[in-house]
């Protein structure tokens, strides 16, 4: 009996994963199908952009600054070996716009805004607020989740742009006033070397994809959380773990697709 039990358990686990994936995909399409409210009542979305975006701004800007400082120092250390320290501006800008801006912003967003979205939806469920809404003939998916979803999708590229901008200023602060690199070379090499479509636009596409992924995971975890303190706390943890893994995995796939031939 034992080997059969093991196979049955494996089968059950695989089926459960596939079911979860199906439920997750259906949840995504349910949100898309109800997205008209984001157009008909844009104020609902702008309120949520303020909530998820503005409240994440400080942590994003401060993190961007420190990442820029470190890129300035590490970049100078490497480039100096080849006498190419004048290219520091280009290295900092490319690292941020192509990779670190979208990825680190998405990771921070998952920890800051994603967890609060999951906890908020989970606690609304626990407090019967979502049932109350349903009984008032208001669809909670449409009224509560859709504005939050689009707010996350809109906020993420803006936050990633802020992160990259502050990061470049951080790299400049270390490279130019501190180390003494020529400011003209710092900025002109950056302008010459960064391509709007290959570098900046692809970074924006990445952050939009991460925005969809992280916000969707956060809302899904909140919506399906068990309506108890323990259930909500587990869902919040899952948002960070699944969100972070999804960002890193998708980053690899997107990088391979976008820059594979570059």
């Amino acid at each position: 009996m034992r080997p059969y039990d093991a196979i049955a358990r494996l089968g059950a686990a695989v089926r459960s994963r596939i079911t979860s994936l199906g439920v997750f995909t259906r949840f995504f399409f349910q949100l898309l199908a109800r997205s008209g409210i984001a157009v008909s009542r844009p104020r609902l979305v702008s309120q949520q952009v303020h909530f998820v975006g503005n409240h994440s701004l400080l942590i994003i800007a401060v993190s961007g600054m420190f990442v820029g400082f470190v890129l300035g120092l590490q970049g100078y250390y490497t480039l100096n070996r080849y006498g190419a320290e004048e290219s520091l501006g280009l290295l900092v800008a490319l690292s941020l716009t192509r990779e670190l801006g979208p990825v680190v912003t998405a990771l921070l967003f998952a920890g800051r805004a994603g967890t609060s979205l999951t906890a908020e939806i989970g606690l609304m469920k626990a407090g019967e607020q979502l049932s109350a809404m349903e009984v008032m003939a208001v669809d909670p998916l449409r009224r509560v989740l859709v504005p939050r979803f689009w707010a996350g999708v809109i906020a993420m590229p803006v936050l990633a742009a802020v992160f990259s901008m502050v990061g470049i200023l951080g790299g400049w602060a270390v490279g130019v006033p501190l180390i003494g690199i020529d400011p003209g070379s710092f900025w002109s090499q950056m302008q010459d070397g960064v391509d709007v479509w290959n570098d900046v636009a692809n970074g924006v596409i990445k952050s939009v994809v991460f925005g969809v992924t992280v916000t969707l995971i956060a809302l899904y975890q909140g919506w399906y959380a068990r309506p108890t303190p323990e259930g909500v706390s587990r869902a919040t943890t899952r948002t960070v773990v699944s969100g972070s893994l999804a960002i890193l995995g998708l980053d690899f796939v997107l990088t391979a697709l976008m820059f594979g031939n570059g």
Binding site: E120, L123, M124, G127, E128, Q129, S131, A132, M133, E134, V135, M136, A137, V138, D139, R143
Partner: protein
Amino acid sequence: MSSADNAQIVLQFSGVSLGYGDFTVLRGIDLQARRGQVVAIMGGSGSGKTTMLRAATGQLRAQAGEVRVFGQALAGIGQHDLQRLRQRMGVLFQQGALFTDLDVFENVAFPLREHTRATEAEITRRVLDKLDAVGLRAAAHLRVSEISGGMARRVALARAVVLEPELILYDEPFAGLDPISLGITARLIRDLSDRLGCASVLITHDVAESFAIADQVYLVGQGELKVAGTPADLQRSADPYVRQFLDGAPDGPVAFHYPVTPAFERWLSRREQA
């Protein structure tokens, strides 16, 4: 029954059985609520009163029998039709279920914003009017986290009635209220039914207040409808179950123990085998 009489019936249960999974909480329930009537559904804790409310709102489907709201059967009803019926109902939840991301004013304004095209001035007037009726006009600007539990229930009451619905379901409207708020809330429920001509269904175990305002009382217990009648009929009843409930006597037919369910028996047999 004449068609005019039928039109008066807002909520009707006919031989309804309700439960969750393989566990039936209530069997063979017959109930009617008419326009302008206050109907109290009473019973001990866990007797299935809230389950009846969930059946009336279409959140729970009947295992047997028929639930009709505004003359329409809820069994097999489409989501769109159910939404239309729900727009004509107001529900006061046991815990209030106020939206914690909105302040007191916006909570009461919520149904107006979702279901009407009222102007901002009209919304302000109607919301403040309803908040005034529950004594909380000056609390309109407060956040939900800043008000007490009793105040939250009064805000929830204002929200439930702001659209002036044709059927209002109150789940434990008197729980957690101080004696003054309790008396005012009871009068408000009666006034709303008289003024709007709506049917009010109260789920409660507060005998004194509900008997003071109810036209019809249904007492449920032991998985069935024990008795139905006017408050005076129940007061005169010699039924031991009714007497124990109304007099609050410790001894009598009302079971103190939670009934054994198939799920419990399975759980117990698993524990005994382990």
